[in-house]
């Protein structure tokens, strides 16, 4: 090459400059990248938490320091000084001892090494000997000799070692004598400050003290070196088996929530703001001993959200209220997270997560909202139109409409269907008409024609029969008294009698307002006498009313009239509209020619009936009511069994501006079911048709919680709540209890006895006592608490009682109705009660007889007037106690066949414990049990006295039932 290579095309200085600037850019970019990767929001949160903990710990240290016993400390310090002085005096002695001890240590060491070495030689020699003798080698004997030698050597060394150890121990003891007192005192002093020290350690861990440690704290969390010993760390739990379904795969759940929610499983942060707040109900959640320990369950299994996220937004937090949303938007830049299939459940719906693991149950303890929601769903009969897992095989929620003419008139029905709430504000029947998408004048005209059709269909060709005329006349006043006392109010409410809105259980049966305008008196009479005659599947029990009682009640109920201004009546017929509507319906199914032919063959009435049939099909009335011709028609609604997992984009939000979430949509749907038709062009057949239910906002929230709980994801068997035999019995029992609304009258599992409020109210009105007084008095005059029924009564007795109740408590006006349980149902309830109180089922051992001599006599003494005077209240067979029946107590002659012996003992011991508010006096004061009984009976032994009473009671009356 020619030597002209020094020519440059570009200026090197310029290139250098560009190189310098671009390198600087590269450096800056790289540093930025590292910083950006390093700086995460959760680190700031953890620092805040450390500061918070430090503040708390500092306070705790102050308290602990103040708690140190200053006198004790002073004493110890003085003693310590004395002990030190004493030790100093004996210093020379100690030095000499120390020297000896050093020598002893060496001896121990050498003998021990010798021993250990010889031991290992011995072991090896033994192995070789075993090998040789196994091979029948000639050298075996030689080896055995060697083994023996090593063995004796080993013994020698062991001896020497033991000796050396003994000497050492002796010397140590002597040293202890000199230094021991000092050591003990120092330990004492340290113990005094142990608490403080531990707190200080904790403080040092969250807030390093001193410049060195402070700078180390910065260093250890610095970028690039924060892998060594960072104090800020991502906290995660990988709950075993709680896998996450991602489409067709299951992958482990990795919950990193505690990276920020640092205080969740620690106590002491209850009143601190999120994200540090302690999780409520630690005994149920998070704690190691709770049923949902955090390391086994994690967080997102209940709360949902993105498990792996370490950032507020990524985690898909979801606000519980609009205030919270506003706050979050301000603090965290919160916005609805798109592309998130499982955002966090707002706090108010979190109970929706329970069902996934607690599947197949009607009651989840601790999930109050869900439980109520489920009751509601069953009560209003959502399952009539929507298929739902867990609601199969239930009877239709409303009454049958096959013999409507026996009960009411077409005019009433037409007006009722158009707007049930107008007639009866608290009805369960939802409203189909006059809603968002059908209240324009044309729509009203059309729907009125439809209603005419529906009513025509319902009253077309009624079942033959009816009810006979009333056998006499009733007294409405007596009727009211009966209704308020015999137990009707456990399930029914009557607006006239209510002061506060009735509870859900008291709305179990239909609200009776307006019944006089609705039902014929003959029907009412026949119904209260035996409801099953009209409606075989009804839940309404038979109260065993006499004819006169029934007449009185009928008389009273017929006085309950429709609200003022409400008049029954059908809309006037509109034949052209009818024709158009019928044609429209027919046209969807046949050619124009066929329609013409068909129309020609129809009479006016036929047209109405035909339109009615079409409309019943469209609105799905048969979902809740038995209607002739629709006995097996499948429900018309969307299946909701997996609604909680339905993808949000499958919900049609139309033009409605609400946040696009499942819960917002469902809430909106319940609030205004037709609103999603807003702004859409639809034919009358295409319009949304879900009716409006008469829910309060709280009830709506409960129902949404239940609907959200229907999810597709199946947790693995290991984390499913599996029912054992006892829980299966409980579950089956609870279903029956709910079906028959037992808790309307009885207190069971801590819930119910809602009738008590009506009894108390009556007492206030009639006796003029204070409300609180009335409430406590009402306990004794309400149907009994039956949570412990399984422990109280004998299984065979209970079985017969359930099948055919007999009065037990003469002072009670309320009657246990005859439900007409089948044997299976009665058996289920029996199992339920015994499972609830964990009592043996079905057999119990009676106490051994004969009873000890003298026991009967003693018992009789105790029951006598001079002592407990039992029979002043308790009936004894035919022998009635004196005084007003309201003061009577159960027949003791029944005790033998009815009560469990063990329960009698517990009952006599402390009745208030088993039945708070009972009239039964406490004869043996539990506070001073040992001195509570009379001293002159059975040697004053309370236990013997109680046993005697029990044994005596069991001899009263007839022989046991069934034995």
């Amino acid at each position: 090459m020619p030597a002209k290579n020094e020519e440059y095309a570009r200026s090197l200085p310029l290139l250098n400059k560009v190189f310098a600037w671009s390198s600087l850019g590269l450096l800056a970019g790289t540093v930025w990248m590292v910083w950006d990767d390093y700086y995460r929001p959760w680190k700031r949160v953890q620092r805040e938490f450390h500061a918070l903990t430090a503040k708390k710990t500092e306070t705790a240290i102050q308290q602990a320091e103040q708690a140190v016993d200053q006198n004790a400390l002073k004493q110890i310090q003085e003693d310590l000084k004395a002990a030190q002085a004493q030790a100093d005096q004996r210093k020379r002695e100690h030095d000499a001892l120390r020297e000896k001890l050093d020598r002893a240590d060496v001896l121990v060491f050498t003998t021990d090494t010798h021993y250990k070495n010889t031991k290992s030689i011995y072991d090896a020699t033994r192995f070789e000997y075993e090998e040789l003798s196994h091979q029948n080698s000639a050298r075996a004997a030689e080896q055995q000799e060697k083994l023996r030698k090593v063995e004796s050597l080993l013994a020698e060394y062991k001896l020497a070692n033991e000796k050396a150890l003994a000497t050492q121990a002796e010397l140590k003891k002597q040293e202890e004598a000199i230094l021991g007192a000092e050591k003990v005192l120092e330990k004492k002093r340290a113990d005094l400050f142990a608490g403080v020290e531990r707190l200080q350690k904790k403080l040092a861990a969250v807030e390093p003290q001193g410049f060195l440690m402070k700078s180390f704290e910065v260093m250890r969390n610095a970028p690039l070196v924060d892998f060594m010993a960072p104090s800020l760390k991502i906290q995660q739990v990988v709950p075993n088996g709680q896998n996450k379904d991602i489409n067709f795969l299951t992958i482990p759940r990795v919950d990193r929530c505690q990276t920020c929610h640092l205080g969740t499983d620690q106590t002491g942060y209850e009143n601190d703001p999120q994200p540090f707040t302690t999780h409520p109900r630690q005994e149920l959640f998070l704690a190691g001993k709770s049923p949902h320990p955090v390391d086994k369950m994690g967080c997102t299994i209940c709360h949902r959200g993105l498990d792996r996220a370490t950032d507020f937004f990524d985690a898909a937090h979801w606000p519980d209220s609009s205030e919270q949303q506003a706050k979050w938007t301000k603090t965290y830049d919160w916005a609805p997270k798109a592309h998130e299939s499982s955002p966090m459940l707002p706090k108010r719906f979190v109970e929706a997560s329970c069902l996934a693991c607690h599947s197949g149950v009607v009651h989840i303890s601790g999930a109050a909202k869900w439980n109520k929601g489920r009751d509601l769903v069953e009560r209003v009969g959502c399952y009539g139109c929507h298929k739902m897992r867990g609601f199969e095989g239930l009877r239709k929620a409303g009454p049958p409409l096959t013999r409507l003419i026996w009960k009411t008139s077409p005019d009433w029905a037409a007006k009722w269907v158009e707007n049930p709430v107008a007639f009866r504000p608290a009805t369960w029947m939802p409203r189909f008409f006059g809603l968002a998408n059908n209240s324009s004048p044309e729509e009203v005209a059309r729907t009125r024609e439809e209603i005419r059709g529906i009513v025509a269909y319902l009253f077309e060709k009624p079942e033959p029969g009816g009810f006979p005329r009333l056998p006499g006349k009733g007294d409405p006043g007596k009727g009211e008294k009966l209704i308020t006392s015999v137990g009707c109010l456990g399930c029914h409410a009557i607006a006239r009698l209510e002061k506060t809105p009735p509870t859900l259980r008291r709305r179990f049966g239909p609200n009776l307002d307006g019944i006089g305008s609705k039902a014929k008196p003959e029907w009412i009479y026949a119904w209260v006498k035996e409801p099953k005659n009209y409606f075989p599947e009804t839940r309404m029990p038979n109260l065993r009313l006499t004819d006169q009682e029934a007449l009185d009640i009928t008389a009273y109920l017929t006085t309950l009239k429709a609200p003022e201004g409400w008049e029954p009546g059908e809309a006037a017929p509109n034949p052209p509209l009818l024709d158009r509507l019928v044609e429209q319906q027919l046209r969807a199914r046949m050619t124009a020619e066929e329609v013409q032919a068909k129309m020609a063959s129809f009479s006016e009435h036929d047209k109405e009936v035909y339109l009615g049939q079409r409309m019943i099909t469209r609105y799905g009335c048969f979902g809740c009511h038995l209607i002739r011709g629709f006995e097996t028609t499948p429900p018309i609604g969307t299946e909701l069994s997996e609604e909680g997992s339905k993808e949000v984009d499958r919900f049609d939000f139309g033009y409605v501006k609400i946040p696009e979430t499942r819960h917002d949509w469902i809430t909106q749907k319940l609030e205004n079911p037709r609103i999603f038709d807003q702004g859409k062009v639809k034919t009358s057949d295409e319009k949304l048709k879900m009716p409006l239910f008469n829910f309060t906002p709280e009830e709506r929230e409960m129902v949404v919680t239940v609907v959200l709980s229907f999810v597709k994801e199946k947790p693995p068997l290991s984390s499913t709540y599996l029912l054992d035999a006892r829980h299966k019995a409980l579950e089956a029992g609870r279903r029956l209890v709910q079906e028959h609304n037992c808790q309307g009258c009885h207190l069971l599992e801590g819930e119910g006895q809602e009738i008590r409020a009506t009894i108390a109210r009556k007492m206030v009105e009639e006796e003029g006592i204070g409300e609180e007084d009335a409430d406590s008095r009402a306990v004794a005059f309400s149907p009994p608490f039956i949570t412990g029924e399984g422990a109280r009564v004998r299984s065979d007795w209970l079985f017969h009682f359930l099948k055919g109740p007999t009065p037990i408590r003469p002072w009670l006006a309320a009657r246990m109705p005859t439900f007409g349980f089948t044997d299976e149902e009665a058996d289920t309830l029996l199992r339920y009660f015994t499972a609830l109180s964990e009592s043996p089922f079905p057999f119990e051992t009676p106490p051994p007889q004969p009873f000890p001599p003298g026991e009967m006599a003693a018992a009789k003494t105790l029951t006598s007037k001079d002592y407990f005077n039992c029979f002043s209240c308790h009936q004894q067979g035919a022998k009635k106690p004196e005084g007003d029946p309201s003061g009577w107590a159960p027949d003791l002659a029944l005790a033998n066949s009815r009560l469990r012996p063990d329960w009698i003992v517990d009952w006599i011991k402390d009745p208030q414990k088993l039945y708070p508010g009972t009239k039964m006096p406490t004869f043996f004061d539990p506070a001073s049990f040992d001195t509570s009984g009379p001293d002159d009976v059975l040697g004053g032994d309370e236990n013997l006295q109680i046993k005697a009473l029990r044994d005596y009671l069991l001899t009263l009356g007839s022989a046991r039932m069934g034995s």
Binding site: D102, D105, V106, F109, T110, T113, K116, N117, S120, I121, D123, A124, R126, F127, E131
Partner: protein, 361 residues
């Protein structure tokens, strides 16, 4: 036969085996009277003997089990290959040495001036080589399945558990040195030493042809390191180490119960307790002062002494730095046999034992 097996097993314990190997190595390379072993006839004889031994070994159930473990088959092959090629290089080297003695150029020189076109000679040779290797691999693969054992189980440690065979030399060193020396320092030094080799080898002769006489020192050192301290250690680790890393003869059953006396003791204990009859000092620096002095002396004094005596010529030829590096590397290499003998003769556990800082030599 039993007697023969017992004799072999008897020889096979580390002190005897390694002493024997050390002796054999130096005799074979240095003792002119036995240089007949570097002849083709001897080669055939030795190969035959080796094959016969393997063949015989296969009749013994214990030896058979070790030899035919799939991953051990290549090691047997490697043994023969390394043996053969060591022989070949010595054979060719000695031949050249005889020519040099007779004032003739080495064999390679005869042809090194002749340039041959690569096509087709070299290309063809390579092609054939590839084909033959392919055949070998295919047949090998058909006859011997690659091992697959039970699925990995972190909770169950196999006894013995061994590193891959080419690292067994290192694992064997673990018997004598702590992991930081056997597993980190010495392997590192092997690499460093190999890389430094061209720069610390003062001998300009013997470049590009086989020779022994002209490079006695280098070849002895290298082969001692390669054959004795690497390959032999691998053999030991593969064939002789059984359960609990115990040493087993080739015909011995791998009995998990085998026990060997363990009576190792640290230098500090010997000095303070046995010699001075006082307890061990609390301070580790005082306690280990003797060991530290000894190690320092080994690495500082010995080069000085050697530089004035045995390695005087090296020292003069290479200059200070290169000489120091060379001697340091040599000393490190020799430290392994030294420690082995310290262990076998005096049960020496550690010369310097500072477990507080994981610093044990």
């Amino acid at each position: 036969m039993q007697g023969f097996k017992a004799a072999v097993d008897g020889i096979c314990n580390p002190p005897i085996l390694f002493s024997l190997i050390f002796a054999l190595f130096f005799v074979a390379f240095l003792w002119k009277r036995v240089h007949w072993i570097w002849t083709p006839k001897a080669c055939i004889l030795l190969l035959t003997a080796g094959l016969a031994f393997v063949g015989f070994g296969l009749t013994d159930p214990n030896f058979h089990a070790i030899l035919t473990k799939p991953d051990n088959v290549p090691i047997v092959g490697m043994l023969f290959l390394v043996g053969f090629f060591s022989w070949l290089s010595m054979y060719l080297g000695l031949k050249n040495d005889r020519r040099t003695a007779a004032n003739l150029p080495p064999v390679e020189k005869l042809e090194s001036e002749i340039k041959i076109l690569v096509w087709p000679d070299l290309v063809y040779t390579e092609m054939l080589c590839m084909i033959l290797w392919s055949v070998l691999l295919i047949v090998w693969s058909i006859y011997l399945k690659a091992p697959i054992e039970e699925p990995a189980n972190p909770a169950k440690t196999p006894n013995p558990s061994k590193a891959p065979w080419y690292f067994l030399g290192l694992q064997e060193m673990l018997v004598y040195y702590d992991p930081w020396i056997a597993g980190v320092l010495l392997p590192g030094l092997i690499i460093v030493g190999l890389m430094a080799l061209p720069y610390i080898d003062p001998n300009k002769k013997g470049n590009g042809y086989f020779t022994f006489a002209e490079r006695k020192w280098e070849i002895l050192t290298f082969q001692f390191g390669f054959l004795v301290l690497w390959v032999m250690m691998i053999i030991t680790g593969t064939f002789f180490r059984g359960p609990n890393q115990n040493f087993f003869g080739p015909f011995e059953h791998w009995d998990v119960h085998k026990l060997v006396p363990l009576s190792n003791i640290n230098l500090s204990e010997v000095i303070w307790v046995r010699v001075f009859n006082v307890g061990l000092p609390q301070n580790w620096l005082v306690r280990e002062s003797f060991g530290i002095t000894l190690v320092l002396a080994y690495f500082l004094l010995v080069p000085m002494v050697l530089g004035r005596t045995l390695f005087k010529s090296f020292f003069e030829k290479m200059g200070m730095v290169r000489y120091q590096i060379l001697v340091f590397l040599l000393l490190c290499m020799v430290s392994l046999p030294i420690k082995m003998y310290l262990r076998w003769l005096f049960n020496m556990h550690y010369v310097v034992a500072i477990p507080e800082y994981f610093f044990n030599i």
